[in-house]
Structures are given as structure tokens and as C-alpha cells.
Symmetry: C2
Subunit: 288 residues, 2 copies
């Protein structure tokens, strides 16, 4: 059995990907994580596939300097529109949210209707629908973009907020009428509104949090590759953002459950000239 | 009297600045306009002053290739946080929205309370408050950030939309209780929600649309400098965006009142290597 001390890199358009960090830390507490949030260009959900792919490629190149054992694309939009094109371009295993989320949805659906709730760009890509139908071509899928959910969460609103409840009811009225078996929370921000969505859709609708499914897929990948960190190691978290470290810190509590105090700002324009600090664990690679 | 055929450059974080284009075209139909919307990095309102200033500087350099007679910063956030620093850095007259908007508010207030409604970054800069108090230090000012207004408008919602009405009531409840004389619509998107804001605040509150005030300031500047285009010339509009030309086109109707069909995409990464096409009018500079 081999042990791999290299970190896992996690990339998101902003800070929503911290829900994936949280799930990874719960499942793999020995792993060190490098997080990059592109807060200077957030949000990705309303931007073109071409721009999202270009941004993602730039950030992959930056993250590779940390010699990660895997790159986890926590952003559903980047997972849907950029990962299919980029996964083969880089010599590192890439895990996005779409395949794990779709597999979990297909399993939970048991032949019933799956509703995909996501950003405009994710919905336009049809990637969730296609991935679910690769698991089971007979599962019916309905897709609904919910563009306000991200700004509602970024503003600090929660389940009981009246604007949230009105927006949830408006977006999901037609979906609810179709009586879905499963609803995929296909954007990192949406689990923050889980209570309002669950209440509106009613009992019996299984909500799929892609952060959980993604962290399980990462654990499985590393386990099969014999690339887990040693049990009992204390994984660390290093955060980089392209803008606004303070805003990131103050909002991190909602996504991660604790406040991050050590955040470094690095702009995409500086990727080419700056060397990121080399974390101690990146220097080690031990195989036993 | 001299005549200046050079275009006016208009810069915005996205497409909201088309409200300024609309006002300029109504007031100065002979002028040709170059518009740049930074749709790859929109919105600016929740980003740091440092990032907004860096983006604005990059875009100024791009716009200078068109040899504009003036750069109009239609984005209130960039006007508030970047123009004070950049105005002296470039050898071209720069007009932002803050000074004209503040002057119009101070005049309309007649000593009464002025409410500034704007993005988080604009409010945090205190530029509107300071500019109003430079006009008249005794005018009381109250400021309120309304972060949802931009995504509400970008999603295509209008005055009568229930989510808009709920958000307006929530943001403006405390403001209304203070009985303002004037409310400044301190973001290019907010005039689209003018009806809902006016109805909620009630009769007697003067709403200041900064697009109108800004276009008047541009006309005044060019007139005083003897730099207007000849009467009867037919001004043209050239649009550049950093992402998503299609989305820009489809949303342009709401801001401009007509659909723009000719939009060129140019990314900030390409500014350094691409030469923009040289419009015919930029080659001319006639003094009579």
C-alpha cells in the first residue's frame, strides 16, 4: 500500500466550493487541501462556456504548481462546461461535481423524475441530464435554472428569509407539479437554501447535495489509486482567492462552518509571474 | 468654433451602462460612441476597490486606442472607487456618474434628506455622500446598498414582479421612514426598477437617474471645450464586450430601448495583442 502526502486541489468560482471542502474534511481529515476561489470573476453561472473554460484552464495551471494528487472542480458550472474539455488536457485526475451528482441522483431516483436545479450555464450545457441518462436512459429529467439563488446566498440570506421563500416558490412551482422523486442541488450555493427548497417541494423528494457525492467520489478515487494520506495525519487547508480576502473570510463561516483566517490573494494576472509558497507537505511523496 | 469628430468612449462593468448610452444618444445624436462592457468579470459591485480600479485601468488603456475625446464611466461602482484615482492618470477628460449624480441630488434636495441607493462597493466608498456634501455640507445623506437589484434586473424582472416588489420594500423600509426628499438611483441597473422604487417611496420623493445627469455633464464638458461633433452628423454606436455577445444583445433592448446587433467580443487578455478595428470617424479630427 502506498501513501501520498500531496494535497488535493479544490477550485471554485468563488466561495461556494467551501461546501465541498467541508465534505472533504469530514470524509478525509488526513488530506491537506489547496483551495482557489476566483472571486475576481465570480459568478460563472451567467457567463459563456468559452469564458468559463478559459478561466478554468488558467486556474488548473496555477493549481498544478502545488503538485496536487487530484483537482476537484467544486463549481458545478465549471464542472458542466469546462471539465469535459479539460479533463484529458492535464496529467492529473480531475473530479467534477456532475458525474458524482448525477450518479447519486440516478441511484436515488429509482426510475422516478429527477429535477436539476442549477445556474443558467449548467442547465444550458445539458451535462447533468446527459450524465443521468448515461447511468439510466429511462430516467426522466427536468431542468430549472434558478439565477437568484446565488446572489441570495451571497447576501447572507437563509431558509426563512421571505425573499428566499418567494423565489423558491416561483422557480419550483412547475417542478413541484411534476412530482419529482429527486432534486439535484446542482450549484454549490444551493445547499445553503436546502431547508426552504425541501419544505417547498414537500416530503418524499430526495435532495442530492453534490458536495457530498463529490467528496465520496474523491475518496473512492484516491483509495483505489492507493493515494490517500496516512491515517492520523492532520490535513491542513490553504486558501487562495483572486479578490477580496476579507469578504471571503466573513462569508466562509456559512459554507465551511468555521471562519478561515489565513487567505492569500493572487490575481489571474499574477499567475504567470508569482510562485505560490510551497507548503511543506507538497515536498513529500512517500510510498511504502 | 471647433468641431471634433472623435468618438466618446463609454465603459461599464456589463450592460447597465447602455442606459447612459441611451441618454447620450438622446442628448447628443451626432456623437459616435464606443461602448465597452466587461461582461466576463461583471458584477463589480461586490468586488474590492483594488480589483475594480485594476480592471478600470486596463479598460481605459484599451479605450484610448480609439482616441476618444472623453471617457465616460457609466458604471457607478467604477465611478465611485476607480475614477478618483484614475482621472489624473490619463490624458483624456473622464466623466463618472458620481459627481453629476451628486450635483443633481444636491440641487433637488433643497436641504432635505438624500438617500443613496447603490451597490455595496459604491456605498462603502462614501463617494456619493462626500460629493453631495462638497455641494452643500448641510444636506443629510443616508446610504443603502441593494445587492439584489442587479441580479433581479439581469434576470429580466421588471417593476411589477413580486420578488422585485418584496426586495424593494425590504431594502427601502427604513429609508422610507426617514422621509427622504431625494433618492439617487446610484447604479445603472436601478432605473429599470424605477416604477417599483417610486411607488414604494411614495409621491414627492425625487428620483435621480444618474444616466441623465451624466449625459448632461458630458454634453456640457464637450460644449465648453468646443469639442462637439457637427450638427446633423449621424453618430454611430460600436459595442465591445469581454464575454457573451449573445446575452448582451438579448438584454440590450431593456437598457437601450432597441436591440444591438453588432457586438464584438474582446477579452482583457487580448487587449495587449489585438488592435481594435479603427472606425472611420476616429481618423478625422477637424477644427473649423
Amino acid at each position: 500500500m502506498s501513501i501520498d502526502h500531496r494535497p488535493i486541489a479544490v477550485f471554485d468560482s468563488g466561495l461556494g466550493g467551501l461546501t465541498v471542502v467541508r465534505a472533504l474534511r469530514e470524509r478525509l481529515p488526513s488530506e491537506s487541501l489547496i483551495y482557489f476561489g476566483d472571486t475576481a470573476r465570480v459568478p460563472y453561472g451567467s457567463k459563456s462556456a468559452e469564458a468559463v473554460t478559459r478561466f478554468t484552464r488558467e486556474i488548473f495551471h496555477f493549481l498544478l504548481r502545488f503538485e496536487p494528487k487530484s483537482i476537484v472542480v467544486a463549481c458545478n458550472t465549471a464542472s458542466a462546461v469546462a471539465v469535459p474539455e479539460l479533463a484529458d488536457e492535464f496529467d492529473v485526475p480531475v473530479v467534477g461535481t456532475v458525474e458524482p451528482g448525477a450518479a447519486a441522483a440516478a441511484e436515488a431516483a429509482d426510475g422516478g423524475l429527477v429535477a436539476i436545479l442549477a445556474t443558467e450555464a449548467t442547465i444550458a450545457s445539458n451535462q447533468y441530464r446527459n450524465a443521468i441518462n448515461r447511468c439510466n436512459p429511462r430516467i426522466p429529467v427536468v431542468q430549472k435554472a434558478c439565477p437568484l439563488f446565488v446572489p441570495l446566498v451571497e447576501e447572507g440570506r437563509e431558509d426563512r428569509d421571505p425573499v428566499v421563500r418567494l423565489a423558491v416558490a416561483e422557480y419550483l412551482e412547475a417542478v413541484r407539479r411534476l412530482r419529482p422523486a429527486v432534486a439535484v442541488l446542482g450549484c454549490t450555493h444551493y445547499p445553503i437554501l436546502r431547508g426552504a427548497i425541501a419544505e417547498y417541494l414537500g416530503e418524499g423528494v430526495v435532495l442530492i447535495d453534490t458536495a457530498d457525492a463529490t467528496s465520496a467520489a474523491v475518496a473512492d478515487l484516491l483509495d483505489r489509486a492507493g493515494a490517500l494520506s496516512p491515517d492520523g495525519a492532520r490535513g491542513r487547508l490553504f486558501c487562495y482567492v483572486s479578490d477580496n480576502t476579507q469578504r471571503f473570510q466573513s462569508l466562509s463561516t456559512r459554507f465551511l462552518g468555521r471562519t478561515i483566517t489565513d487567505v492569500v490573494r493572487i490575481c489571474p494576472e499574477e499567475f504567470a509571474i508569482l510562485q505560490p509558497p510551497e507548503p511543506a507537505h507538497a515536498r513529500l511523496r512517500v510510498s511504502v
